[in-house]
C-alpha cells in the first residue's frame, strides 16, 4: 500500500507530460515475452515434469499462473502506479472470493459433511 502511495506522484506527472513511447513499448514487449515463456513452462510442467504427486503439479501450475497474473496486473494494468483506493476495492473483492472458496472447501473438509457427500 505504501509503495502505491509513493508512485502516485509519478503517475500524476504522466498526465502532464507525454510519456516516452519507445521506452514503454520496450517494457511491454519484455513483459509479453516473459508471459509467453512462462506459458511454455506451465505446459512443460504439466506434461513432462513428474513431481511424484499430481497435486504438486497442479499447485506449481497455479503458482506460475499467479505470477503471470501479477505481471499483467502490475505492468499492463498499471497497478504498480495506482492509488490506494483501487487496492482497497480489489482487496475486499479478493477477501470475499477467498472466503467463498475456503468455505466451499470447508464443506468437504468437514468430517460429517464429507461422509454425507462422498459415500
Amino acid at each position: 500500500m505504501d509503495s502505491a502511495h509513493d508512485h502516485s506522484h509519478s503517475s500524476h506527472d504522466d498526465h502532464d507530460h507525454p510519456i516516452d513511447l519507445a521506452k514503454s513499448i520496450r517494457t511491454y514487449l519484455k513483459v509479453g515475452i516473459t508471459l509467453i515463456a512462462f506459458t511454455f513452462i506451465t505446459v512443460f510442467v504439466a506434461y513432462k515434469v513428474d513431481l511424484g504427486d499430481k497435486h504438486l503439479n497442479i499447485a506449481l501450475g497455479l503458482i506460475i499462473a499467479a505470477f503471470k497474473v501479477s505481471l499483467v496486473g502490475l505492468i499492463f494494468m498499471h497497478l504498480k502506479h495506482e492509488r490506494g483506493l483501487i487496492y482497497k476495492t480489489l482487496l475486499f473483492a479478493f477477501i470475499f472470493f477467498a472466503g467463498m472458496m475456503f468455505l466451499f472447501c470447508l464443506a468437504y473438509m468437514d468430517p460429517i459433511a464429507n461422509s454425507f457427500l462422498k459415500p
Binding site: 475486499f92 472466503g99 468455505l103 466451499f104 464443506a107 473438509m109 468430517p111 460429517i112 464429507n114 454425507f116
Partner: protein
C-alpha cells in the same frame, strides 16, 4: 415547422460534447425528459414508481395466498378473483378451477411474491429510487457520475420486471419452486411439460440475469458518484449517514450479486442445455414419466444453495439498510439534535457489511452440513448481531432528551425502531443450528423476516416518501391521510405477523397451501390466550384479517400520493423541515444540474441545536459562525 426547428436544435446541442446548458433543458422532448431520461432525479422517480407498483402487485399475490390459507377449498371472492384476471381471461380456469386456488397456483404466487418483493419491490424502491434521487444531492454533485449508464440500469431493470411479471401468462405459468428457486425442484417441476425449456422457471432465470446486470450498473454508478463527485469540504466523516449506508449497500450489491449471476447461469444451463450442475447422480422424480432423469448427474444441489445465499444474505442487508438509512435522516431532523454516535454507526455499518459476506450458510443448516461448518457460521451470525444492535441502539438513544416533533415521517420512523427490533431479536435464536432445525421453514421464520422487512423496512421507506416528497414535488403530503395510513398499517402489520410466531413454534410449515388443514386432527393444536380458546388453525383467519386491513390502510396513501402531486399544500421554503443536509439547499424541485452554485460543505451532517447558533439547525452549506466558535471554545474548556 415548429417541431422541425426543435428537432434541429436538439440535434445541434447533441453535437456538443456533454452539452446541455441549463436553458436547453426545457427544450428536451418529452420522451427524453421523462422516459429515456439521464437525469438522476427522474430516474429515481421512475424507480420509485415502478417499485411502489411492484410492491402493490406482490402484496396482491399474497392476498390470494392468504385466502387459500384461511379458507382452503373455498372459491375466491370477487375482489380477489379480479387479481387473477390480470393475467388473461383463461388464467382462472387454468390455475384456479372453479375459483379455488390450486396447489400449483399457491406455489407460483409464493415464489413470485418473494421474488417480486425482494428483487423488484424493496430494492428498487429502497435502494435505487432513494439513492438516485437523494445521494447526488446529498454529496453535492450535479448528477450521477455516469448518467447514461444510469438510464441503462433503469431500463434493464424494467425489462427484467416485465419478463418476471410476464411469466404468469406462459403456458407453464410462472416459477413455482420458491423465491430461492432451489435445484433440483426447479429443474424437475416443469420437466414433463410440452415446452422443451421455455418454462416459467427459465424465464425467472432470464429475468434475474437482467435484474442482476441492472443492479451492477447501478452500484458502480453510485460508488463512483460518492467516491469521486463529493463537493468541496464533503469529507468522508461529513457524509450524511444516509449516503454512507447507500454507499455500503452499493458495495454489497457489487460484490455479492455476481455469485448469484453464476448460479442463475448454471441453472439456466441445466434447464436449457440439459447439464447437471445441480443435479446429483441417479436423481429420481415422480413428476415425470422418466423415473430416473436422463441427465449425466454428478452435480450438487447444495452448490446452488451456497451460491444463492452468498448473495442472498448480503441482500438481506441491502433490504434493511435503506430503512435504517432513511430513519437516521429523519430522527435527528425531528428531534432537533445530532444523531447519537454517528461515528460508531458508520463503523458498525462497515463491520456489518464485511460480516454479511460470511454468514450465508445459516440459511442452510438443514442441508446436513457438518458441525465444523455449522459452528463457523453460527459464530459469525451471532457476531453480526452486534453491529446491528449498535445501529438500532444509537437511533434509540438519539431520541433521548430531544424535543421531538411528530410529523408523519417521524411517526413511521419511531415505529420502525421497535418493529425492526422485534424482527431482529427474533432472528437470534435462528442463528443456532439446534434451534433452527426445529424452526426452519416454519411460520416463525416468516414472521421474523417479515417483521424486519414489512413493518421495519417498509415503514422506513414510507417515512422517506413522506420526508422527501416536498423536495420532489414542492408540495406536502396530507397529514390526516398520513395518520390514517400510519395507524392502519401499524395495526394491520402486527395483527398479520405477530400470531405467526406462535403458529411457527407450533410447527406450521410455510409451504402449506391449505394453511395446515390437512393436519387438522393432529394433537397439540389447541391453545388458550387470555381466556380465549381456539386452535392454531383459527389463527389463519385472524392473520388474514390483518392482511385485508393492511391492504385497506394503503388506500389513503395511494390517494394522498397522487392527489398531493397537484393538490397538496405548497411548501414555502426550499427547506421545509429545517434540515441540515445538502439536498435541502437546492431549489424546489431541483433543476437539471441540481445546484445553482457549486456547493461547498463546512460542517458535519447533523448539526442541530448547535450552541451559539442563531437557529436550532446549522446546515452543512453554511460556514461556522463566530458565535458558534465562541460557544465551542467555552464548551471545550469545561
Amino acid at each position: 415547422m415548429e417541431a422541425t426547428h426543435d428537432h434541429k436544435h436538439a440535434h445541434d446541442s447533441h453535437g456538443h460534447d456533454h452539452g446541455h446548458d441549463d436553458h436547453h433543458d426545457h427544450k428536451l422532448p418529452f420522451y427524453k425528459k421523462y422516459i429515456f431520461s439521464t437525469d438522476h432525479k427522474v430516474i429515481g422517480m421512475q424507480y420509485g414508481l415502478s417499485g411502489l407498483l411492484l410492491l402493490a402487485f406482490g402484496f396482491m399475490l399474497m392476498l390470494v395466498m392468504r385466502w387459500s390459507i384461511a379458507h382452503p377449498g373455498e372459491a375466491l371472492p370477487g375482489g380477489l378473483r379480479w387479481i387473477l384476471h390480470l393475467f388473461g381471461p383463461d388464467f382462472v380456469t387454468r390455475w384456479a378451477p372453479n375459483g379455488v386456488v390450486s396447489g400449483s397456483l399457491y406455489n407460483m404466487f409464493g415464489a413470485m411474491h418473494g421474488t417480486i418483493m425482494v428483487f423488484f419491490g424493496v430494492v428498487p424502491l429502497g435502494f435505487a429510487a432513494f439513492v438516485n434521487f437523494v445521494t447526488p444531492l446529498q454529496v453535492g454533485a450535479p448528477d450521477m457520475a455516469f448518467p447514461r449508464l444510469n438510464m441503462w440500469s433503469f431500463w434493464l431493470f424494467l425489462l427484467s420486471a416485465v419478463l418476471m411479471v410476464g411469466s404468469f401468462v406462459l403456458p407453464t405459468g410462472a416459477a413455482q419452486a420458491g423465491w430461492t428457486n432451489y435445484s433440483p425442484l426447479s429443474a424437475t417441476v416443469m420437466r414433463n411439460t410440452d415446452a422443451h425449456f421455455w418454462t416459467g422457471q427459465t424465464q425467472w432465470l432470464f429475468a434475474m440475469v437482467f435484474n442482476i446486470s441492472a443492479s451492477l450498473l447501478g452500484a458502480v454508478n453510485v460508488l463512483t458518484t460518492v467516491i469521486n463527485l463529493r463537493a468541496k469540504g464533503m469529507t468522508w466523516m461529513r457524509l450524511p449517514f444516509f449516503t454512507w449506508a447507500m454507499f455500503i449497500i452499493a458495495f454489497l450489491l457489487l460484490l455479492a450479486f455476481p455469485p448469484l449471476e453464476v448460479a442463475a447461469l448454471m441453472q439456466l444451463s441445466d434447464q436449457v442445455f440439459g447439464s447437471s450442475f445441480f443435479l446429483p447422480t441417479g436423481l429420481w422424480t415422480g413428476q415425470t414419466s422418466e423415473g430416473i432423469l436422463s441427465v449425466s448427474g454428478g452435480g450438487h444441489p447444495v452448490l446452488f444453495q451456497h451460491l444463492f445465499w452468498f448473495l442472498a444474505h448480503p441482500e438481506v442487508y441491502v433490504l434493511l439498510l435503506p430503512g435504517i438509512a432513511i430513519v437516521s435522516e429523519i430522527i435527528p431532523c425531528n428531534t432537533r439534535k445530532p444523531i447519537w454516535g454517528y461515528k460508531s454507526m458508520v463503523y458498525a455499518l462497515l463491520v456489518l457489511a464485511f460480516l454479511s459476506f460470511i454468514v450465508w450458510a445459516h440459511h442452510m443448516y438443514l442441508t446436513g452440513m457438518g458441525t465444523v461448518v455449522a459452528t463457523f457460521f453460527q459464530f459469525t451470525t451471532v457476531m453480526i448481531s452486534i453491529p446491528s444492535v449498535i445501529l438500532l441502539t444509537c437511533l434509540m438513544i438519539s431520541l433521548w432528551g430531544g424535543s421531538i416533533r411528530f410529523p408523519v415521517p417521524m411517526l413511521f420512523a419511531t415505529a420502525f425502531l421497535p418493529m425492526f427490533g422485534i424482527g431482529g431479536l427474533t432472528g437470534l435464536p435462528l442463528a443456532f443450528p439446534f434451534i433452527d432445525l426445529f424452526l426452519h421453514d416454519t411460520y416463525y421464520v416468516i414472521a421474523h423476516f417479515h417483521y424486519i422487512v414489512a413493518p421495519g423496512v417498509l415503514f422506513g421507506l414510507f417515512a422517506g416518501v413522506y420526508h422527501w416528497f416536498p423536495k420532489i414535488t414542492g408540495r406536502m403530503l396530507s397529514t390526516p391521510l398520513g395518520h390514517l395510513h400510519f395507524w392502519g398499517s401499524l395495526i394491520g402489520m402486527n395483527v398479520l405477523f405477530a400470531p405467526m410466531f406462535v403458529q411457527g413454534m407450533a410447527g406450521f410449515h410455510r409451504r402449506w397451501f391449505d394453511g395446515g388443514k390437512a393436519f387438522e386432527n393432529t394433537s397439540l393444536q389447541h391453545f388458550s390466550f387470555m381466556g380465549w380458546e381456539g386452535t392454531f388453525l383459527d389463527m389463519n383467519v385472524i392473520i388474514s384479517w390483518g392482511a385485508w386491513g393492511l391492504g385497506l390502510a394503503q388506500i389513503p396513501f395511494i390517494i394522498n400520493f397522487f392527489w398531493s402531486i397537484k393538490g397538496g399544500k405548497r411548501v414555502t421554503s426550499d427547506n421545509p423541515w429545517n434540515a441540515t443536509t445538502l439536498e435541502w439547499s437546492t431549489p424546489t424541485p431541483p433543476p437539471h444540474g441540481n445546484f445553482l452554485t457549486t456547493p461547498v460543505v463546512y460542517r458535519g451532517p447533523y448539526e442541530y441545536s448547535v450552541p451559539g447558533a442563531e437557529r436550532d439547525f446549522s446546515p452543512q452549506w453554511e460556514p461556522v459562525t463566530p458565535s458558534e466558535e465562541e460557544a465551542l471554545k467555552t464548551l471545550s474548556t469545561h
